[in-house]
C-alpha cells in the first residue's frame, strides 16, 4: 500500500495579510511559509498508518505543485517523516491547474490512498481533492475525520451535516481530510531534519493546462463598528441592545 499526501504551503496562520500591486496580489515580504495545517495533519496520519505494521502501508510520498522557492516546505515534510517527494515545477495558478497536475502524476505512478486537506488556509477553496478523484475516475470521501485499515480494507469516518458516518470504499481512493484525522501534527526531530537532506525529491515538469479562474483583486473584510462596553453588573442592558439594537435575540 502506498500513500500520497498532497501538500500546499501557506502563510503562517498568524500572518497579517497585506496586499501589493494595487490590491491584485498578496504582499509576501516577511511571510513565514508553513505546510497547510490540514496537510500537516494528513501527513501525520499517513505516517501513523505506516508505523503500524498491520496496515500494509509501505511508503508515504508527498507531492507539491510549486516553484523551487517552496522547496523548504517539501524538506520539512521529509523531515517529519515522508519517504520521498514529488514537486511539479510550476506556480500554482488555480485549483483546476493544481488538481490537473497532481492527477497526471498519479496516472503514471500508482498510489492506493491519496490524501488532501479539506482546504488550504490561503484560498479556502475545498476543491483540489475532489477534482483529483474525478480526473482519475476513482472514489473520494470528503470531510474525513478518521481513517484506518481492517484486513486491507479502508474504514473511514466522515463528518456529515448532523453526525458522522463510517464508510468504506475500494482502493485507490482520495481521502479529503479535516479535523480529527490526527491529534497533533508530528514535529520534525533533529534526526529527521538530517535525513531529509538526502531523501529524493523528484522534479516533474507541468503539463499544459489553462486555469479556469483568476483572482483579480483583494480587499480587506468590512471593518466592524467599535465595541460598546456594558457594565458587568448590568447584563440586562446587554440583552436590551441585542433585542432592540442588533435585533438578534
Amino acid at each position: 500500500m502506498k500513500i500520497l499526501v498532497c501538500i500546499s504551503n501557506v502563510p503562517d496562520t498568524t500572518t497579517k495579510i497585506k496586499f501589493a500591486e494595487g490590491n491584485t496580489s498578496v504582499d509576501t515580504t516577511g511571510i513565514q511559509w508553513v505546510i497547510n495545517p490540514w496537510d500537516e495533519l494528513s501527513l501525520t496520519r499517513a505516517l501513523e498508518l505506516k508505523d503500524d505494521t498491520t496496515t500494509g502501508v509501505k511508503s508515504v510520498t508527498v507531492i507539491h505543485v510549486g516553484p523551487a522557492a517552496s522547496e523548504p516546505t517539501i524538506r520539512k515534510a521529509l523531515a517529519i517523516g515522508a519517504d520521498d517527494a514529488i514537486r511539479v515545477n510550476a506556480v500554482s495558478s488555480d485549483a483546476w491547474f493544481v488538481a490537473s497536475q497532481i492527477a497526471e502524476v498519479i496516472k503514471k505512478e500508482q498510489f492506493d490512498v491519496i490524501m488532501c486537506g479539506i482546504e488550504s488556509s490561503d484560498y479556502n477553496g475545498s476543491i483540489v481533492g475532489g477534482m483529483i478523484s474525478e480526473f482519475l475516475g476513482i472514489p473520494s470521501v470528503s470531510a474525513v475525520s478518521g481513517i484506518k485499515f481492517e484486513n486491507g480494507q479502508p474504514i473511514i469516518i466522515r463528518e456529515i451535516d448532523g453526525g458522522k458516518e463510517v464508510v468504506s470504499v475500494p482502493v485507490p481512493f482520495v481521502a479529503i481530510v479535516q479535523k480529527g484525522i490526527a491529534k497533533e501534527p508530528r514535529i520534525a526531530a533533529m534526526r529527521g531534519i538530517m535525513m531529509a537532506r538526502s531523501k529524493p525529491v523528484k522534479l516533474v515538469e507541468p503539463v499544459q493546462v489553462d486555469p479556469l479562474t483568476q483572482i483579480v483583486e483583494f480587499e480587506k473584510p468590512t471593518p466592524r463598528a467599535a465595541c460598546k462596553f456594558i457594565d458587568a453588573d448590568s447584563p440586562a442592558l446587554l440583552l436590551d441592545l441585542l433585542q432592540n439594537e442588533a435585533k438578534v435575540i
Binding site: T13, P139, E159, C227, L238
Partner: protein, 322 residues
C-alpha cells in the same frame, strides 16, 4: 440558459440553507435575466417542495431513486451534470458545506466549470463573471473571475438573507437511470447527532474558551445557550483538553460558522479562532482582560469574570423570557 440550484433536505424537510441557496440563485437569475431550476434529491412531499417557489424557484426537479440514499459524490455529480446539460444551466449554486464540498469539484471536472467557493455576495460583475469570495481564512476577500462557460458557485452558509419572491413553481418528478457501477461508498454505521441544535445551522452560538478554567464550569454557559435556543461551541484548547466535545471546536482548524450572534466567553480572540467566526453578524465578548483581541471584533463587550457574569446573564435572560 438557466440557474440551477442544488437543495438539501433532512428528514423530509428542507434545511434552512436550501432557502438561502434558492434566494441567492434567484438573485443571480435576475442579473442574468433567466429562470431558476431547483433540484431536490430524496423523499420530500409536494407541500414541502413547493416552498422553494416562495424564494423564486420557477421549476423544481424532484429526484427519487434508491441508489441515491447514500451520499456518493461520484453518483451525485454524474446525476447533476446530466441535469445541468438537460436544463442548459450556465450557473450552478451549491452550499459550501460538507455535502457541497464533496460534489462541487467533481461537477467542475465533468462540466469543465470553474468554481467560486465560499461566495457570500451576489456576483460583482457578469462580464467578466466575477464573484466575491472568502480567502486567507477570512482575513481577505477576493474578486475571482471565472472564465469557463459554466460556473459553479458554492455559497457560504448563513451569508445570504432569505428573500421571498413568490413564483408559480412547477414540479417535475424524475426517476433517473443511475449507473450502479459508480456507487462505491458503503455505509457501515451512522451516528446522527440528535436533540441538539446543529452548530453550523444555529442562529445563535454561545462559545467558551480557556477562560472557563475547567470542564466543571460549563453549567451556566450551557444554560444560557438553552435559554437562547443557541448551539454551544468552544475554542481549540478547550476541545484539546477534553472539556468539550470535538464537534464544538470552531476556528481555522475546526468548524467555520456564521451565526447572527456569537457570544464568546473567556476566549482571547486568536487569529486562528477568528478565522472560524469572523463572519458572524454580531459578536459579544465576555472577558476579564480589557486588552483581549476579541474586543476588536466584538460589537458588545463585558469586561469581567465569566464565572460571575454568566449566572447574572442567565438570570437576566430568564427575566425577559417571562
Amino acid at each position: 440558459m438557466s440557474v440551477l440550484v442544488y437543495t438539501e433536505n433532512w428528514d423530509g424537510k428542507f434545511k434552512k440553507l436550501s432557502f438561502e441557496l434558492v434566494s441567492y440563485a434567484t438573485g443571480v437569475a435576475k442579473m442574468l435575466n433567466t429562470t431558476v431550476t431547483a433540484v431536490s434529491i430524496g423523499k420530500v412531499d409536494e407541500n414541502e417542495l413547493i416552498r422553494l417557489g416562495n424564494y423564486g424557484a420557477n421549476k423544481i426537479i424532484n429526484v427519487n431513486s434508491d441508489k441515491l440514499t447514500v451520499l456518493d459524490s461520484q453518483v451525485y455529480a454524474s446525476l447533476l451534470s446530466e441535469i445541468v446539460r438537460k436544463e442548459n444551466a450556465s450557473v450552478i449554486i451549491i452550499s459550501n458545506n460538507n455535502t457541497g464540498k464533496s460534489i462541487a469539484p467533481r461537477l467542475s471536472v465533468r462540466l469543465k466549470a470553474g468554481v467560486g467557493s465560499g461566495v457570500s455576495r451576489l456576483p460583482l460583475n457578469l462580464n467578466p463573471f466575477t464573484v466575491y469570495k472568502r480567502t486567507y481564512s477570512g482575513n481577505a476577500f477576493a474578486h475571482l473571475v471565472i472564465k469557463s462557460d459554466i460556473k459553479i458557485l458554492t455559497l457560504a452558509q448563513n451569508s445570504f438573507d432569505l428573500i421571498e419572491t413568490p413564483s408559480n413553481a412547477t414540479i417535475e418528478n424524475m426517476n433517473p437511470e443511475i449507473d450502479g457501477s459508480l456507487l462505491k461508498t458503503v455505509i457501515k454505521d451512522i451516528r446522527k447527532q440528535s436533540g441538539t441544535i446543529l452548530l453550523t445551522d444555529a442562529d445563535i452560538v454561545v462559545s467558551g474558551g480557556r477562560g472557563m478554567k475547567s470542564a466543571d464550569n460549563w453549567g451556566p454557559l450551557v444554560e444560557l445557550a438553552k435559554l437562547l435556543g443557541a448551539a454551544t461551541a468552544c475554542s481549540r484548547p478547550v476541545s484539546d483538553e477534553g472539556w468539550r466535545p470535538h464537534e464544538e471546536h470552531t476556528g481555522q482548524t475546526g468548524k467555520i460558522i456564521a451565526p447572527n450572534l456569537y457570544i464568546a466567553v473567556g476566549i482571547s480572540g486568536a487569529t486562528q479562532h477568528l478565522a472560524g467566526i469572523s463572519s458572524s453578524k454580531y459578536i459579544v465578548a465576555i472577558n476579564s482582560d480589557k486588552n483581549a483581541p476579541i474586543f476588536e471584533v466584538a460589537q458588545y463587550g463585558i469586561i469581567g469574570d465569566a464565572m460571575k457574569v454568566l449566572p447574572k446573564l442567565v438570570e437576566a435572560v430568564k427575566e425577559i423570557k417571562k
